[in-house]
């Protein structure tokens, strides 16, 4: 039970960080609610009530959008109709669908940060992975058995992501080029490559006005976990969970993982101990890109079904937030990905039902990173007693070496 208590204590600051960020988000919603605020002079109570009502309905829509409506789920289960059950549980499965790429990209960020590499190019690695998988599936489609094509497409996607991640790692190790600049630049280049590919008549969906690819899922598909109409949850979710176990094993139970963490913790010491810090950088970035590429392949083959330029939807940003929230621990990444998956899925229905743009979530995510990286601020704000000496804030260069 002591482990449960220590887990609770460890999760307290991250949870308060998310809560505080949501509170600030609510303030932003109120401050930008001009329709209601314009009545502040004549009817201050009504104006404030209206604005707060906007927050409640917005965040309420987020909650039901993420977890569904319990009474409806019970009612649907009682009727036993597959269609009713599917619509009732759809919010939950959609949350898990959103969680899958978040787990994978969160792991990608965690690996690179552990090795002291600040990979903000996850979006680019993801989209290029998706592109690799798309091209493979479209060009080999029909000539290979489905299961083989599935594995080859995912393999090419993973490889494309790994190559795109390896480049900044290589440049950093060989020339010292800062990975923050190179990964960001490579994000822009990747986006242009995808636009270029989508201008090709072999890839682009001819009937659509937006630049999207032909549906990949006509050739390959990932089997679903629950076979119900309109449910998209497939086995990639389970693979993502297995990846978390694998990354955890790699980082904390293997020599390579120890070297990765050592060179992230203190590159000079690692080098002095005979490890290849440059090699660790390149390996970490390639693995990071491979995980991002896997996420992109899963999206394009499975849940989304086609390639579009905005496929990632800024997942790379969210991944940084959740990796830091998780203290760069794979197990924490899974928990934080579930939380952010719920926020993102709920945020979409918030956007549809109450007209509050989903982009508010990006702002909230930035606040979460800030609060997590400044834990003493959150502790001070909520008057938490400090039971242990305040640890160093999360850094990119010197990671706390605490094991899982």
């Amino acid at each position: 039970m002591t482990s449960a208590i220590s887990l609770g204590r460890r999760a307290l600051v991250p949870l308060l960080a998310v809560f505080t960020a949501l509170l600030v988000g609510a303030v932003v919603i109120v401050l930008t609610d001009f329709e209601n605020l314009s009545r502040l002079g004549t009817d201050p109570v009504g104006a404030l009530a209206g604005a707060l009502g906007g927050v409640v309905s917005g965040y309420g829509a987020m909650l039901t959008g993420a977890f569904g409506d319990p009474t409806r789920i019970v009612a649907a289960l009682e009727t036993g109709s597959a269609r009713n059950i599917a619509t009732a549980i759809r919010p939950i499965t959609e949350t898990l669908v959103t969680t899958t790429p978040l787990i994978l990209t969160g792991l990608a960020v965690a690996i690179s940060f552990r090795a002291g590499m600040f990979n903000i190019g996850v979006d680019g690695q993801l989209i290029l992975g998706a592109l690799g998988a798309t091209i493979t599936a479209l060009f080999l489609g029909g000539s290979l058995p489905g299961w083989l094509l599935l594995f080859i497409s995912i393999g090419v996607g993973v490889l494309s992501g790994a190559v795109w991640g390896f480049i900044p790692g290589f440049l950093k190790a060989r020339t010292g080029a800062h990975e923050v600049i190179t990964t960001i630049m490579l994000n822009y280049v990747a986006a242009q490559i995808v636009f270029l590919a989508l201008s090709s008549p072999d890839i682009r969906q001819p009937t659509s006005t937006a630049p999207v690819s032909l549906p990949v899922s006509t050739f390959v598909d990932i089997p679903l976990i629950i076979n119900l109409p309109a449910i998209r949850l497939d086995w990639s979710f389970v693979v993502a969970l297995l990846m978390a176990v694998a990354v955890s094993f790699l980082l904390f139970r293997t020599t390579k993982g120890f070297e990765l963490r050592a060179s992230g913790f203190n590159m000079t010491a690692a080098r002095y101990a005979g490890m290849s810090a440059g090699g660790s950088m390149m390996l970490a970035m390639a693995l990071s890109g491979a995980l991002a590429g896997l996420a992109g392949s899963f999206m394009v083959i499975g849940t989304v079904g086609q390639l579009s330029p905005d496929l990632s939807g800024g997942v790379g940003f969210t991944a940084i937030a959740l990796a830091l929230l998780a203290g760069l621990r794979p197990s924490g990444v899974v928990a934080a990905a579930l939380l952010f998956g719920a926020l993102t899925t709920g945020g979409k229905s918030m956007g549809i039902q109450s007209g509050i743009p989903v982009d508010l979530l990006t702002f909230i995510i930035a606040l979460v990173i800030m609060f997590v990286a400044a834990p003493d601020f959150i502790r001070g704000l909520w008057r938490l007693k400090v039971r242990e000496p305040i640890k160093e804030a999360v850094t990119t260069h010197q990671q706390p070496s605490a094991p899982v």
Partner: protein, 432 residues
């Protein structure tokens, strides 16, 4: 260039040997490309290179300069060989980066002429276009120099420019609705943008100094938050109330007398006011950083804060102050994008220019003049689209759009090598 900028290794030891070897290799490389250029020159002495410039104003009278493509190659080649020889003889202490910045231009001229293959081309528009493109990059780089010289990494330039662009547009639009005066509205817009970004600079300081947060993470917080909040404001307010996002725009301003200079007038003195501000800021900051007590203290805070603190310099106050100043300048850069380039605010309109500015800062070795030179190179890369339309070459626009980003990667990784920045940039300072 200052001594800080270049790695100067003296004495024996492995590092010195490696520096000498690198310098020799670099000299040989300069020499080799010079020989290639001479060879190309000997092959193309017959092809004419015709460049035109507008004499009085864009689209007015023009003057043409004619020479042979071979001559341009020969010139570029000779200069390259010369720099190569000096580099080879002087070894590691030779400061080759400023020379490289100068060498770029004859090469560009030669390659351009070779690509034109005898067709005439008017360069005035391209040069002034490069300068326009360089403005936000130079300003961003100046902001980066100020904060990094004082010891604070500034990854947040991108986000600060984005917020600056948004605030400038909204503030100028609102002021124009209220007062009807374009001049006042533009000034209010710029001031508001600068203050908003200055505030973000202080926030960066609060995170990095007060809470000792990793400065890269702190900068990323601002970058992500800026995207989120400006997209949110755009979608929730501006897209439905377009009158809040239609600021008066800032048009080019001809400097009396100077603008009438032939050839130079249309290039240098009929520009947007921001261009003049950029030159002034580069000059002022160079003087302030390297010739005043203020600048010495600022640099000391970034190089050896412990020593600076010992002699009574308030390192933390200096870092906060330079972050605020850097914020003001990035806000100015942001206002340029919305008030002068685009004419309104658009979602994610900064599009990586904040990071390109960081690259320019590094290429310019943390020196304002170097940063301006580097930004002009980026500016030229940004006008490739115009260039290729002059040439009539059909290249997919997606490739053209990636050129500035690719050039940035090449410059940060390949050309620059390891440049030493301020020693303590990025490390929190403990006031003892």
């Amino acid at each position: 260039m200052t001594a800080v900028a270049d790695v100067v290794v003296t004495g024996g030891g492995l590092a010195a040997q490696r520096a000498t070897r690198d310098a020799r290799l670099r000299g040989a490389a300069f020499f080799a490309v010079g020989v290639v250029a001479l060879y190309l020159g000997s092959q193309s002495l017959g092809t004419s290179a015709t460049f035109a410039f507008w004499v009085d104003r864009q689209g007015g009278q023009s003057v043409t300069l004619q020479t042979a493509v071979g001559v341009l190659w020969m010139f570029a080649g000779t200069v390259s060989i010369l720099i190569g020889v000096i580099q080879f003889l002087r070894g590691a202490p030779f400061r080759w980066r400023p020379w490289l910045l100068l060498l770029v231009w004859p090469w560009i001229a030669a390659i351009l002429a070779a690509a034109l293959a005898g067709k005439p081309a008017n360069l005035t528009g391209m040069i002034s276009g490069s300068i326009d493109f360089a403005v936000p990059i130079t300003l961003g780089a100046l902001a980066g120099i100020l904060s990094e010289r004082s010891g604070m990494l500034n990854i947040a330039l991108e986000g600060k420019m984005l917020v600056g662009a948004c605030v400038a547009s909204v503030a100028a639009s609102v002021t124009e609705l209220a007062t009807g005066s374009p001049l006042i509205s533009v000034l209010v817009g710029i001031a508001a943008a600068m203050l908003a970004s200055g505030g973000l600079g202080l926030l960066l300081g609060w995170m990095g100094i007060r809470h000792r947060m990793d400065q890269i993470i702190a900068g990323t917080v601002i970058n992500i938050g800026a995207v989120g909040i400006t997209n949110f404001v755009f979608l929730r307010i501006l897209s439905r109330n377009t009158q809040l996002n239609t600021p008066p725009t800032i048009e080019p301003w001809r400097i009396p007398a100077l603008a009438d200079l032939p050839i130079l007038g249309p290039i240098l003195f009929s520009a947007k006011p921001y261009v003049y501000v950029m030159y002034v800021l580069v000059g002022v900051l160079t003087y302030m950083l390297f010739r005043t007590r203020w600048g010495l203290r600022l640099r000391a805070s970034g190089e050896k804060p412990a020593a600076a603190g010992t002699v009574g310099i308030d390192v933390i106050a200096i870092r906060y102050r330079s972050l605020f100043l850097a914020g003001l300048i990035s806000g100015l850069a942001g206002s340029y994008l919305s008030l002068s380039v685009a004419g309104n605010f658009g979602m994610q309109m900064v599009a990586g220019q904040g990071f390109i500015a960081l690259a320019a800062m590094i290429f310019g070795a943390w020196h304002p003049i170097g940063a301006l030179g580097a930004a002009l190179v980026f500016g030229f890369a940004g006008t490739t689209q115009t260039l290729l339309s002059i040439l009539g070459v059909d290249v997919p626009p997606q490739l053209l759009n990636s050129v500035p980003y690719l050039v940035t990667i090449i410059i940060v990784a390949g050309v620059v090598g390891r440049v030493r920045g301020p020693a303590e940039a990025g490390r929190p300072y403990e006031q003892g």
